[in-house]
């Protein structure tokens, strides 16, 4: 028995040393490298209402602004289609890049979930300080959890209340069963390599450091515990969660938990819509290998519903 234990411990030590020295093979064609960065870093005025209109007129201030936030390891690309679709609308969109994202692998590795959230808060407060009163938020995947966390933390108690909060495939419970053990095996794996196309490599990190998966787990666990106790929606805010029935990343149970745990001040429930879809973040169709009429219809349905509440 002693011999077995000794052999196992030696093998584990070797594995740990090898794993800790592992560095991903990052190329210049990947977002992870130091060549490609999210375009919002070069021209924030194309993405953020606060940057494009630093001195808004009264007419500007009367417009509704939707802050759109992307998911874990993604970039502003995730909401490009909504921005294009909304080009001629009466509302404006701020597509925020979560801090730690859209930069290098090392920047991503060093980021905490609070950093991810900071980008949403920063744009919200800039708009608030500029005098906007009609602000709504939409968050996909991890940003869905971040928006629920903002409600949980009582952030809106000391700020203007958002008119609407939309959640698209929010993650509170992962579909992947391995994610819940990432904290334990992560240090041995160092990073997770994702099977995605070369084109997707420009907009999503190809390598996902285990530290960031732990951060993701931390925030979704915090939100889940908050939902277990109950979270009250800011007064006057409309909330709706859209979720793909076959979501391969954010379990549909996430929306069940949000539905159970979120309540309006009058005790009523939020709105929920389950989409006939098997893709995660069904509102992003660009770069999908194939797009069915149903997926197009799902996207249009969600965009139209959001737009109706922003006009």
């Amino acid at each position: 028995m002693k011999a077995i234990l000794k052999t196992v411990s030696i093998c584990l030590s070797i594995l740990l040393i090898v794993a800790c020295n592992a560095t991903p093979d990052i190329t210049d064609e990947m977002l992870d490298g130091d060549v490609i960065f999210d375009p919002s870093l070069y021209s924030p005025e194309d993405y953020l209402v606060s940057a494009k209109y630093p001195a808004p007129t009264q007419e500007d201030l009367e417009k509704h602004v939707l802050i759109a936030a992307h998911g874990y390891s993604a970039s502003t690309f995730e909401w490009d289609e909504l921005m294009e679709w909304s080009a001629d609308s009466s509302y404006r969109i701020s597509s925020v890049l979560l801090d730690g994202h859209g930069r290098t692998y090392e920047d991503f590795r060093a980021s905490k979930w609070e950093d991810w959230r900071a980008a949403i808060i920063r744009e919200f407060e800039l708009l608030e300080d500029l005098g906007y009163t009609k602000i709504s938020l939409v968050g996909s995947s991890t940003s869905g959890a971040l928006l629920v966390e903002l409600m949980q933390s009582g952030y809106f108690n000391s700020h203007i209340k958002p008119k609407n909060i939309f959640l698209v495939d929010p993650i509170v419970a992962p579909t992947s069963k391995l994610q819940s053990v990432a904290d334990l095996i992560g240090p041995m794996l160092v990073y997770l390599e994702v099977d995605q196309t070369a084109e997707e490599d420009k907009y999503w990190y190809h390598f996902r450091p285990h530290e960031t998966i732990s951060e993701l787990n931390e925030v979704i666990q915090k939100v889940r515990k908050g939902l277990e106790k109950g979270i009250t929606v800011p007064g006057g805010t409309y909330v709706k969660s859209f979720h793909s029935k076959g979501d391969p990343t954010a379990s549909t149970t996430s929306t069940v938990l949000i539905y159970k745990g979120l309540e309006h001040t009058d005790g009523s429930k939020i709105d929920v819509q389950l989409m006939n879809s098997d893709i995660h973040v069904f509102t992003r169709l660009n770069l999908r290998p194939s797009i069915s009429p149903l997926e197009l219809s799902n996207q249009l349905d969600a965009f139209t519903q959001m737009a109706k509440r922003l006009n």
């Binding site: 509170v172 419970a173 992962p174 579909t175 992947s176 069963k177 391995l178 994610q179 819940s180 053990v181 904290d183 334990l184 787990n217 666990q221 939902l227 277990e228 106790k229 109950g230 029935k245 076959g246 979501d247 391969p248 379990s251 549909t252 149970t253 996430s254 069940v256 938990l257 539905y259 159970k260 745990g261 929920v272 389950l274 098997d278």
Partner: protein, 178 residues
Amino acid sequence: MKNLCLLTFLFCASFSIQAQQLNVGIRLQKTQQMYWENGISAQYSFANFKPDRLFVGFDFVTSRLGTAMNSNALKQDSYIFSGSWYFFKNKPYHLIGRLNTGYLNTDLEYDIFDELPSSSFLLAPELGFNYTPEKLPIALNLGLGYYLNMQDENKTPGTFQPLHYHLTLYYKLFNQEK
């Protein structure tokens, strides 16, 4: 719950006649990054076949007696049958190899979620440790198990996660002397 207790009692009673050892107890279980699910446990070994080495058992754990108690957590119940092998014969402590199988059901409560996955077949290998004080009719059992993927991951509820650990305190209801 009453029916379940009655069933467990009958289950135990029916085997006590031929059992070498029959233990019943309470089980406290935590799933990594998910719920506390607590419940009851029973296990026995046959008098005429590998006594005190081979145990078969039944466990019922539920989040109703754990995280879902007075909270918005989902109510989910697991029915687990197991076979265990106790290493280190005639010692007060044992290493345990166990294989669990069973069924998990999650109550999603609202009609709008009827189409969503709410159950899963369970299969989990487990490593454990048992300590049985020589002069007391109790046994303390620790286990670390991992549910294997038996279905597509998006066909099972998100509250079903693989890695779980438990502490079970048994009372030796029946222990036939050799």
